[in-house]
Structure formats: C-alpha cells, structure tokens
C-alpha cells in the first residue's frame, strides 16, 4: 500500500495516472483472489477433506490447488523462465520457438482483442454504443476470406494489404447501416446493431454452406485462403504468432493519433462529450456519428480479417468466438483510450491463452477464466470497492475532473 504514502502534493497528472493504473491492477489482484475461492471449492481433493472422505492437510491441499491452477495458467500464458533461458543459451531456434510458444500465443490472442476493443472505444468516444462489433467482425472476416481465396496470382505484398483492407471495408459497410439508420431515421444504434449481429450470423451460415463453401466439403467452411494472403508467421510451427500483433499495435497508435492529434478526432470526441456544444461550434454532428460508426466497424472488420488471415486461414462460423462482446469489456477496462485498450487486451490475451494450459494441467475448466474476467470488470466498474479495500484516497478532486472523460459521454 505504497499509495498511502504518496505525498499529497504530488503533481496532479501523476496522481491521476496512479488512479488509472493502480485501480485496474488491484482489481486484477482482487479478481485472482476471489477466483482462488472458486478453485478451492471446486477442487475434488479439498472437497474430499471437507466431507471427511480424506484426512490430508486441508491448508496444504488448498494451497496446492491454487498454486497448480495459477501456476499452470502463468506457464501457459507467459512461459517457463527457466526453459526460455536454457533455450536461448542453446541457441537452437526450434528450442527457442518452443520456449517462447506460450507468450507468443498470448500475444497472438491479444491482437484481435486490441482491434475489436478499439472498435468499441471509438464508438464510445463519439457517444455511441456499438454492440454490433461481433457482426462487423463476421463481415470483415467474410470480405477478407473472399479476397484471400478468390484472388490468385497476386504477390503477397499486394495481396495481404488488399485482403486486410477488404476486411476493414466489410466491417465499415456493415456498421454504416446502423449509422445511416440513426442519421436518417433516428433509429437507436444499440437496437439496430444487436439486430444486425443476427443478420450477420445467418448471412455467414448461408455463405459458408452456399456460395463460399469449400469445394468438396459438406461442412460450413470456406476454402483456404491463398498463401499470398496469409499474414506471415514469425515463429516456427506450431506457434501462430504472426505480424497481426504488430499491425494491431500500429492501428492502436493510429487511432490514438486520429482521436487526440487531429481535427477529425477533436470533432468525434466533441460530439461524444457534448453534442449541443459540437453543433454550436459548427460541427456536423450527424456526419461525425456516421464517420465514427464506420471507423468503429472498420476496426472490427480488421479484427475479423486478422482471425482469418493470421490465425485460421479459413472462415468458419466460430471465427469470432464472442470477441465482439469481450470487446465491450475491453473498451470499458481501457477507459476508451487506445493505450488502455491495448493493456486490457493483453490481460485478456494472457488469461485466455493460459486457460488452455490450466485446463489440461490443473483440470480446471476454462470457464474459470470467464469468471476471473467478469470479476476484473466488476471490480473496475465499482472502484469504490477497491478503494475501500486498499484504502486508496482519491487523486485530488481537481485531477479527477480533468482526467475523467467518461465513456464517450
């Protein structure tokens, strides 16, 4: 609790930053603690002792249950430091690849989270709630897949950007529908985007069992994309770590630059923060809403393209796996700031990819990770709990008002 000893007269930006970082960090700690209760009380060894069926040491059993679970999760998400050191010492590239596999897999999982999280964040910044990211991911994936397999004979340097941009276009077009409905008819984007998600699911079903079905297959699956459209992988098989991660980081930087360093972003943020003042200032509110929504959809589409071109190399109905809904949590966690979204996405990437290992080693279902994700969000959404538990004082009222930008409201 070093926070308490922070001098009261510390510069305000630091205090606000402390608040922005410390609270999420402690929220994660709290989520892991509460999660450990779930681990302990679903552990058969522990339950046997509690019911008297076993006479082993209770505390020891509890500790080992927690340690196995989180230990395997950590190892599955980040890797084993000893193994990494040995691999680098040996200089064998295959061994290095194997040692780096867990962390590389976490980063590969992080990439689509970043893109989808940014999609929601951009809509929040403009005062809208884009719940249709899931559907826009599907449309982005469809467009990217089509360009990926239908265009052949292109060099990779042309084919990759083309397929990626097709994904963005697909997402943007899908998001343009609710945007125009809102602009022209006043339809609320929450309703229309939710509905369009279902349309996107069914559209995908039809395409994958009809026009886009892989020749010779009876399953709803698209043809493999051409090799020239594949996002290059950076580590030897089976690692799937590909340049999508760096694309996502670059896009996050681009979104930050657009939002905070250009007049376009200034307009988007102003419309989100105070539409009346935006109109008074001569900004075209409607145009900005449409623009922000299309931008949001384009980012979602990129997430879809990333999944097809980088990870699966084909399109199936399970391409997203709820990514578009996790994205809402990511935008909230990251306070709709690109840097925050990247950090939150890394957290989710680590948890998700650690979950697999935890399931195989500690025999704990991956659902525990969903519980921990939910707890992190709950603790962040209710900062008063974390403040109370750790006795953190607010970072000065003035600082709060300056840095509290809301979720695009």
């Amino acid at each position: 609790m070093t926070a308490q000893s922070t001098p009261a007269k510390a510069p305000r930006p630091w205090l606000a930053l402390r608040d922005d970082l410390l609270i999420p960090l402690l929220a994660i700690v709290m989520a892991l603690i509460v999660g450990s209760f779930v681990i302990v009380f679903t552990n058969f060894g522990v339950l046997d002792i509690l019911s008297g069926a076993s006479s082993a040491n209770l505390a020891g059993a509890m500790w080992s249950a927690i340690a196995t679970a989180y230990g395997s999760m950590f190892e599955g998400a980040i890797g084993n430091f000893g193994a990494i050191a040995t691999a680098f010492a040996s200089g064998d590239s295959a061994a290095i690849g194997q040692a780096l596999y867990p962390i590389s897999e976490s980063l590969a999982t992080t990439a689509p989270y970043v893109l989808a999280g940014l999609a929601v964040a951009v809509s929040f910044r403009c005062g809208m709630f884009n719940i249709g990211v899931e559907g826009q991911i599907f449309l982005g994936a469809i467009f990217a897949t089509y360009v990926g397999y239908a265009f052949t004979g292109l060099p990779a340097i042309v084919h990759i950007p083309l397929a990626v941009l097709a994904g963005a276009l697909g997402g943007a077009l899908w998001a343009a529908i609710p945007a125009l409905l809102k602009a022209r008819a006043g339809a609320h984007e929450v309703i229309t985007t939710i509905m369009l998600n279902y349309v996107a699911y069914r559209l995908t079903d039809w395409l994958l069992s009809g026009p886009m079905q892989r020749p010779g297959s009876t399953n709803p699956i698209s043809p493999l994309i051409a090799q020239t459209a594949e996002l290059p992988r950076l580590l030897p098989e089976p690692a799937r770590f590909h340049i999508g991660f760096f694309i996502a980081l670059a896009v996050a930087f681009g979104v930050w630059w657009l939002l905070f360093r250009t007049t376009i972003g200034f307009e988007i943020r102003t419309v989100g923060a105070n539409p009346d003042a935006a109109q008074y200032s001569g900004m075209n509110v409607t145009r900005n809403l449409v623009l922000a929504m299309c931008l949001s959809g384009a980012l979602a589409g990129l997430a879809g393209a990333n999944q097809v071109l980088g990870m699966n190399r084909t399109m199936t109905g399970g391409i997203s796996g709820g990514l578009g809904f996790d994205a809402i949590a990511l935008a909230l966690l990251g306070k709709s700031h690109p840097a925050g979204v990247v950090a939150a996405s890394f957290l989710f990437g680590v948890l998700r990819s650690g979950a697999t290992k935890m399931q195989s080693v500690a025999e704990i279902p991956t659902d525990l990770i969903s519980i921990i994700q939910a707890l992190v969000i709950a603790f962040i959404a209710a900062p008063a709990i974390v403040r109370g538990l750790f006795r953190i004082r607010r970072g000065g009222d003035d600082a709060r008002t300056v840095f509290m930008r809301g979720w695009g409201r």
Partner: protein, 514 residues
C-alpha cells in the same frame, strides 16, 4: 431579541478551496437578512450546509437555541428550515395541490390521496400570506412568478419558519419581483424569518432589514440597507471600487449588419414561438432584446445562429441571406455567439480550458495544419487569452467544468471576442455572475460596439438591458412588443412592455406607467 437561527464558526473546505472560513451569522425572529456576495463568495456553500446538503468541517448551527445536526435536508426541514431553490422543483404535469402534497401526502382511508384537505390548507396558507394561487391549476399553465409562490407554499405547508431564498428574482419580471417583495414582508409579518441570497444590490435595499456581505468565504461586514448606498455595498462585495453604470459614449450607428424580416420559428414541440419578428441591428450599436424568459428569445437566437431552421421569414447578415445557413457558415461570416446556456452549448465541460478556447476555430490555421491539430499553437493562444481576459484558472489544462460560472463565461467571452467579428449575439452574458465579472464583460461588449461591431444583447435583466443598450426591443409571446430608444424609456415602461401591455398604453407617459 434571541436569534431563531445562529451559525457559529462555520468552516467548510473543499480540496484546495476554503469555501467558508469561520462564518458567524445570526438571524433574528421576523427578520429579512440579505446575504450578499459575489459568485464563489461562499453563499451557496453556507446555505447548503444549513440545508443539510453539506456537512461543515467546523462550527455549529443552533435553531432556537437547540443544536442542529444534519445528515441531510430532511433534518433541516424537520427543524423548520425551508429553501426556495433558484431552479424550481415542481412537476409541470401535476396540479398545484399535487405538487405541494408530494412527499407529504394526506391520505383518506389509508390509500387514497385526500386532495381536498390539502387544497383547503393551501387556500388557508395563500390567504394568510397573500400568496394568491389556484390549487387546482396545473403547474405548466402558471407563469414563473406564480410557480415561485407554489414553491413558497410548499415550505409553509411543511411548517417551515426559517425560509431561505436562493436568488429568487433571477427569473422574474420587475413587477413579479415587486410582488415577491410584498410576499416576503407578509411572511415576516406572519412570524417567519427569511434569509435572502442575492447579488443584486437594488433588491437588497428594497426588502432587506439587514445585510451581511460575504467575500472569499468570510463575512466582511454588515450594513443597514436603508442607509448604505449601492456603491458602498458593491465595493464591500468586490473589495474595490466598482463602476455600477456602464460608461459609454454616444453610439454611432452605421449600416445594418443583421436584418431580420418576418421570422417565424417553431419550438421542439412544433409550437409557434417566434411569430413574425422583424428588426435590424446596425454596426456600432447595441440592440437590447428585453423580455421575460420563455417569450421566444431562445428560439429566435437559435434561428439567427443557424441552430434551428425557421419556418418562414428571412435573416440577412452582412448582406448575405443566412435564413437556413448552418452554424459554421454563420460563424465564418463574423458572428460571435455567447450562448444562453453556457454549460450546455458553450463549453465542453470535460475538455481543458485550452480546447474550449478554440471550440469553433480548431480547424483553422494556426490551430490546425490540414487535419493535424497544432496543440502547441492552441496552448499558446489559450494561455494568452486566459491572461488577457483574466480567466481565473489553475492552468489551461484544467477542465472547464471545474471553473466557477464566472470564469466559464469568461472562457466563452474570450473565445468569441478575440475573433474578428462583425456581429455579436450575446444571450444572458452575465447571468449568475458577480459584480466584478459583470462590469468586465459589459465593458468588453461596449468596447466591441465602439470598434464598429453590431451587438444584439438578449437579456432578461432590465438593469443590463438599460445600462448597455442604445435601442431596446421588447419581446412578448413571440412578437416584438415595441422598439424604443434606451434614453427615452423608464424601467416601469419596459416592465409594462415585457408584461404585454400595448406600447401605446405602456409608453403613454410616466404617470400612466407608475
């Protein structure tokens, strides 16, 4: 005489601000005490402590000798303290009786509202204190002055005997304000005691028995309103000499800059609120648009500035038809707009002061190069304007929302007046501001006029209209009810025009007006 209410050593701190610094205050039985002070002097904080909305850090409150410990307004109400808020807390679609009963309903048979019993009590109260009101009328049909009476009745219905009035005349016509003064006197005659928060010197002298002046959270003195002059009170309030009248030379009107012809505007509910308005404003003159709030001024200004499309008629600004122009086109013609609701329209409260300073010029050089914001330029210019317009802020990175109302308004004034402009449309430019800020903003507006700018000043404050304007147009029920030369008209005549009296009668002469 034992005080009914006594505050001793009340201190209230907010982070970085000492809002109330050991304030001692005593209210005598049957007294009207005016609490006078600039915005930010700590009047509202003190009253919120008294009303139980804030908890004081030090000091104690006693009511009739008994200490008052509040955890919320309910304790204060139980102790007989009631507050008439500046913004009424009434539900428009309910009747007077229903509003008064709300939260303290009389019941019949345990479940049914006993409206009749409540209405009878309301009639008794009305009669006892001269608060004329029909208990069965709907709030939405009542003029503002009568709505305020309902607020007062609400307090009396709850047996309050210490009444706090927070800036009660801000929304009233001069005639309604006079009525209120009578009501206040009959309240004290009936055994009530009143604290009256204001920054209007004239009212203090008219109704108060005693004045206490607050400045920067401290009591700086008291005065007898019957003997102290307005200038004395003003200098106590501000802490220096204040010019109460605006010093201005004869206007030299030039060509018309704004021409409004037969303008008709609908409000959000499709009601015709501006009904065939025509007038013009010339370069180098200030046209004051007087009128009680809600007579179509808001929608008229929205139509002039491109925020609302008119139904019919024409608007011409510097020779260009702008009837259906968008706000940006109007701004780029050289029109500055100080909006009526500074927090809703004029500022983005979550933005730093710097960004608010360029809210409508952010896209122009030097603030942007192409689409790239030149933050260094923005910051530089913002810092200059903060200095030039004396905006009191910790820095340009401070959010506009954390500034006081007066400083928020100065940010808007700084932004609008430091552009090259030909027409200034200022709506309620000094509402809620302190004497010092008012003086400053008024002098800036006159300065713009003298530089040849046309000024349309929309205000419900008669003092402001009369002090600044060269010509005055009075708006009533969506129409212009007379245009007069400011020099030839009395406050009473304007009051009659504002109340809808035909100009032939209203201007018939001082005798008729009085």
């Amino acid at each position: 005489m034992d005080p009914v209410l006594e505050l001793r050593g009340i201190t209230k701190r907010f982070p970085g601000v000492l809002a109330n610094d050991h304030i001692d205050l005593a209210l005598g039985q049957g007294e009207i005490l005016a609490l006078l002070g600039e915005n930010g002097a700590g009047k509202s904080t003190l009253m919120n402590v008294l009303y139980g909305l804030y908890k004081q850090d030090e000091g104690e409150i006693t009511v009739r000798g008994k200490p008052l410990h509040t955890t919320g307004p309910n304790d204060s109400i139980a102790a007989g303290i009631g507050m008439v808020h500046q913004h009424f807390m009434l539900i428009p679609v309910l009747t007077v009786t229903e509003n008064v009963m709300l939260g303290q309903e009389s019941l019949r048979g345990g479940v049914f509202l006993d409206r009749r019993a409540a209405a009878n009590r309301i009639r008794e109260i009305s009669k006892a204190y001269g608060l004329e009101v029909d208990p069965d009328a709907y709030i939405k049909d009542l003029p503002v002055g009568v709505q305020q009476r309902v607020e007062i009745i609400k307090l009396l219905y709850r047996n309050a005997d210490i009444l706090i009035f927070d800036e009660p005349t801000a929304v009233l016509t001069p005639q309604e304000a006079d009525e209120l003064a009578k009501v206040m006197r009959s309240l004290v005659a009936g055994g009530k005691s009143i604290i009256f928060i204001t920054h209007k010197l004239r009212e203090v002298r008219e109704v108060a028995d005693r004045v206490v002046v607050l400045r920067l959270g401290k009591v700086v003195g008291g005065a007898n309103p019957k003997t102290a002059s307005e200038a004395e009170l003003a200098s106590m309030m501000v802490g220096r000499q204040v010019l109460l009248t605006v010093d201005k030379a004869e206007a030299k009107p030039g060509e018309p800059v704004l021409i409004v012809d037969g303008l008709r505007v609908l409000d959000d509910r499709e009601g015709l609120v501006v009904d065939g308005v025509s007038f013009d404003v010339r370069a180098g003159e200030i046209l004051g648009l007087a009128g009680v709030q809600g007579n179509g001024q808001t929608e008229l200004v929205e139509a002039l500035t491109g925020l609302r499309g008119p139904q019919a008629g024409h608007v011409t600004i510097v020779g260009q038809e702008t009837t259906r122009a968008n706000p940006r086109t109007v701004t780029e013609l050289g029109v500055a707009h100080v909006p009526e609701d500074r927090q809703r329209d004029g500022l983005v409260l979550s933005y730093p002061v710097a960004d608010n300073m360029v809210l409508n010029t952010y896209y122009l050089p030097p603030f942007a190069r192409g689409v790239v914001t030149q933050q260094a330029e923005v910051d530089k210019v913002a810092a200059e304007r903060v200095k030039q317009f004396d905006v009191r802020t910790p820095g340009i990175a401070t959010s506009a929302g954390s500034l006081s109302g007066g400083n928020q308004q100065k940010v808007i004034i700084a932004r609008e007046l430091s552009r090259p402009i030909k027409l200034l449309i200022a709506v309620q430019p000094t509402r809620g501001l302190d004497v010092g800020s008012i003086e400053y903003i008024h002098s800036r507006i006159v300065e713009k006029r003298d530089q040849g700018c046309a000024v349309l000043l929309v205000s419900t404050e008669l003092d402001e209209i009369m002090g600044l304007s060269d010509r005055i147009a009075v708006m009533y029920h969506g129409r212009i009810n007379g245009v007069v030369n400011a020099a030839d008209v009395t406050k009473e005549q304007l009051g009659l025009l504002m109340a809808g009296v035909h100009p032939d009668q209203a201007l018939a002469g001082p005798a008729a007006a009085a």
